[in-house]
Symmetry: C2
Subunit: 115 residues, 2 copies
């Protein structure tokens, strides 16, 4: 079953920043890592990722620097800033709240805590 793409909306920035929490990465690497970490669920496209990274850079959540690779084009590494860490933390909390609310609704009305 193909994943409904409309479900993916909005959380890519969160997921990308989460990858950057561990270590600096370049774009192409993130695409591969995202695929692996999500157990082949998220196929983040280059055309989605690079504009997203530029947006995060504008907001001051990441900083970029060029680095030569052993072969091929030089790589543009991204580093999560202090502000980025703070934003990531908030987005993680927001995700928790959101996912919990979806679970509540999907669990249906026959449960405790019904308002």
């Amino acid at each position: 079953m193909e994943l409904d793409k409309s479900l993916v909306s909005g959380s890519m920035a969160l997921l990308v920043m989460k990858l950057l929490e561990e270590k600096d990465l370049y774009g192409y690497e993130m695409i591969e890592l995202m695929k692996n970490r999500s157990d082949d669920t998220f196929h983040l496209k280059a055309g989605s990722l690079y504009p997203l990274l530029h947006g995060l850079e504008e907001k001051g959540y990441v900083e970029a620097y060029e680095q030569e690779a052993a072969a091929g084009k030089p790589r543009r590494y991204y580093h999560l800033t202090k502000r980025g860490h703070a934003a990531l933390s908030e987005k993680e909390q927001a995700w928790e709240i959101y996912a919990r609310a979806v679970r509540r609704v999907l669990r249906g009305g026959v449960c405790l805590g019904e308002a």
Copy 2:
């Protein structure tokens, strides 16, 4: 903390259909029910809901019928069709897959099962 609206994208159709699984509802009722069921997390707006319902009707996922209320405007009730039930089931599965993948990424790399 205000919920990041961009996270909500895409899953409203799923949640609305889930409400309709239990019983027929009219639009205004869904807005209230959604708020209660989600523990005051989802504030679905009328301007989002009604076009969404019309879309579900066009796809044959719901059927509508008018019914007079004790007072005020007649209410437009929505009923989940057989096709709607099937679509709901698929969307629920898609949500499970998506949420699991997000959890995997958020859990980070220092875990078992890393691909």
